[in-house]
């Protein structure tokens, strides 16, 4: 910058220029205010992408568990793994989210009101509901497993908690937690996120389901638990969902068009291209398509899980870069590209 300025003040032909405003400085074609970002980026640090990842795993696990129950597939190992997984993710998620607050001691204000237009508000409420109902289901499971001991409380839990009914009731809240992680970031002024408002939720949910299936498959394989059929179903579902995830990411990139550039920048490309596209989608798919074997399945699961985490970090960091780029925001907020009220859903 300083170099360009000193040159433009006294050019070699003797012509004097008095300004380095973008309009008058021949070296600065960009039309903005000294390159200062016109919008502020989100402060979100590492807790948020990890929460997005855990929330996706919880949501996908619940989807698989509910479908299995609905189709009458009674595999005790699957039931146990999925119920404890939901409990685990829903214990960690609020901790990460509260940690990220500027005033953590006031976390309860999140449940002060319900605002349907604020994805952050609906996210808090769905997380609250999913976590509590999931906790009840897991308590029932713990009582069945004898973890609560043989006491009146345990008998009360077994008698009072209708786990099968709750497994159905909790699903919409679980799914909401899963896709709302995407809708949450798209309801901002950040070009790369806002541009993709329609596919952000579906992409995050699909990626969440992919990581959830991988997680269940990993746990059942490592513990040598679960029926043969469960593992077969997981294997098939993993493969199909990875394909869907790849399609949705491709469509998202097409929709983001020029504003997707931060995903391919020097800092984010290793996470997005290397971690997500190659490591989290292409490699697991290749491992899953060949001859089935336990070790290949385990490796595919680990890669898909890591890829899901890389995808969330890539999206958050790309959003930061997108918000810091005046050119991206001004081209986005100059007319047709931004979402308009009269747009059809």
């Amino acid at each position: 910058m300083s170099e360009a300025t000193s040159e433009s003040v006294q050019q070699s032909n003797g012509k004097v220029e008095t300004s380095h405003h973008p309009e008058t400085d021949p070296k600065r074609k960009d039309k903005n205010y000294y390159g200062i970002p016109p919008i502020k980026r989100a402060h979100w640090t590492w807790q948020i992408p990890i929460y997005f990842w855990l929330g996706g795993i919880g949501a996908g696990t619940q989807l698989f568990a509910t479908v299995a129950q609905f189709l009458g597939h009674e595999d005790e190992a699957l039931k146990r793994a999925s119920r404890y997984t939901v409990l685990g993710t829903m214990l960690l998620s609020p901790i990460l989210l509260i940690w990220d607050l500027g005033r953590p001691e006031r976390f309860y204000n999140m449940l002060r009101i319900l605002k349907l237009r604020s994805p952050m508000s609906t996210q808090s409420w769905s997380l609250f509901t999913f976590g509590n109902l999931g906790g009840l289901i897991a308590a029932r499971q713990a009582a069945e497993d004898g973890l609560l001991g043989d006491n009146p409380l345990s008998r009360l839990v077994l008698r009072l908690i209708p786990a099968r009914l709750l497994t159905v009731l909790v699903l919409p809240f679980g799914l909401f937690v899963g896709f709302n992680t995407g809708n949450l970031i798209s309801a901002t002024s950040v070009p790369i996120w806002a541009r993709n408002w329609m596919l952000m939720g579906p992409t995050f949910l699909t990626s969440g389901l992919s990581t959830a299936l991988s997680w269940l498959s990993l746990v059942l394989h490592l513990g040598r638990w679960g029926e043969e059929k469960t593992l077969r179903v997981l294997h098939r579902a993993e493969k199909a969902v990875i394909v869907l995830e790849a399609v949705l990411i491709a469509l998202s990139l097409a929709r983001m068009s020029r504003w997707s550039r931060p995903l391919f920048s020097k800092e984010v490309a290793p996470l997005f291209v290397g971690g997500t596209l190659l490591g989290g989608i292409a490699a697991p798919f290749a491992l899953l398509t060949g001859k089935e074997s336990r070790s290949k399945s385990v490796l595919a699961s680990v890669l898909a899980l890591a890829g899901g985490l890389a995808f969330r970090f890539a999206m958050i960091i790309a959003g930061r870069k997108s918000a810091d780029d005046p050119e991206a925001y001004f081209t986005f907020a100059s007319g047709e590209s931004a979402p308009q009220p009269e747009d059809k859903v």
């Binding site: 012509k15 300004s19 380095h20 309009e23 008058t24 903005n32 000294y34 200062i36 970002p37 016109p38 919008i39 502020k40 989100a42 402060h43 979100w44 479908v67 990220d100 500027g102 953590p104 006031r106 976390f107 204000n109 999140m110 002060r112 605002k115 349907l116 237009r117 604020s118 952050m120 808090s124 899963g178 896709f179 709302n180 995407g182 809708n183 798209s186 309801a187 901002t188 950040v190 806002a194 408002w197 329609m198 596919l199 939720g201 579906p202 949910l205 699909t206 997981l234 098939r236 199909a240 969902v241 869907l244 005046p326 001004f330 907020a333 100059s334 979402p339 308009q340 747009d343 859903v345």
Partner: protein
């Protein structure tokens, strides 16, 4: 009754009295001694601790001064041919603009706020209740003008309150009070709207046809925001002042996103169910 600002940038002299008055009245902490090296603007942008910011835009009309320039003639605004074939039309224009929270009619920050901390007060201003805010930071990327930010070491988000406390006592906001050229005008939005139109007409009549009002439902308050209670009279493209031409309400698409996601959830459920078939 809705109150707001009209900032007429054509009479702003860049004295930064508004910045100082705002900092003093609202007891805002210093931002450090940062030198941008770009212009006399070392504040840079609005933030949680800077609720008024004067932008300095250097914008000469004639770009080149060639030959033997008579600087005295230049300063005296002489327009007849100058010796040595020097070309000029005065010293050009140095634009200043005192930026502030836009107090949107449909405020994206208010819609984003999950705690209900951001409200519209009795003056129809967008106000953050500091005793409710828990510092989630979601209003920060929601703002299409980059007004709000979280204050370090405090954690909460802050922005211009339109001097809620002063208004309750029947006083005008500190920045408007301090402005020596009346570039910052405070009053009822309807009055200010009329004043802005009259002022733009006056400028057009004087030959400054590039003057326009920014912050209306046509420019600067577009895309579902429905206009701003803080309006500006600008002389250049909004981007030169670091303002978007057609910002949008980010929450406009929340419903659409949820519907699309629900469809996706149905499809994924079906895919998982199909995987159960042997």
């Amino acid at each position: 009754m809705a109150t707001g600002f009209l900032t007429d940038t054509t009479v702003c002299i860049g004295c930064k009295a508004c910045e100082v008055a705002c900092k003093q009245w609202n007891q805002l902490p210093a931002d450090g001694y940062e030198l941008t090296g770009d212009s006399y603007d070392n504040t840079g942008h609005l933030s949680g601790t800077t609720w008024r910011h004067v932008a300095f835009i250097e914008n000469p009309k004639k770009r080149r001064l060639t030959g033997d320039v008579d600087l005295v003639a230049l300063a005296e605004d002489v327009t007849e041919p100058l010796p040595g074939g020097a070309e000029l039309d005065a010293l050009g224009r140095w634009a200043f603009m005192s930026d502030v929270c836009k107090h949107c009619v449909e405020a994206p920050c208010q819609q984003a706020c999950p705690t209900g901390s951001i409200i519209r007060n009795e003056f129809d201003n967008v106000y953050i209740q500091p005793d409710i805010c828990n510092g989630c930071g979601y209003c920060v990327p929601a703002c299409p003008y980059g007004v709000i930010s979280q204050v370090p070491h405090d954690g909460r988000a802050f922005k211009c309150t339109l001097c809620y406390d002063r208004q309750r006592d029947g006083l005008e906001p500190a920045c408007a009070k301090a402005c020596p050229t009346n570039s910052i005008m405070f009053g009822e939005v309807e009055d200010l709207k009329q004043l802005a139109e009259e002022r733009v007409q006056e400028l057009h009549d004087k030959g400054y046809t590039q003057a326009y009002v920014w912050g209306t439902p046509e420019v600067g308050g577009t895309g579902g925001i429905g206009g701003n209670h803080s309006k500006f009279i600008l002389m250049d493209e909004p981007e030169s002042y670091n303002l978007p031409k057609h910002p949008f309400l980010p929450q406009e698409k929340v419903k659409g996103g949820v519907i699309a996601s629900a469809v996706a959830a149905g499809v994924l459920g079906a895919v998982v169910a199909l995987a159960f078939r042997d």
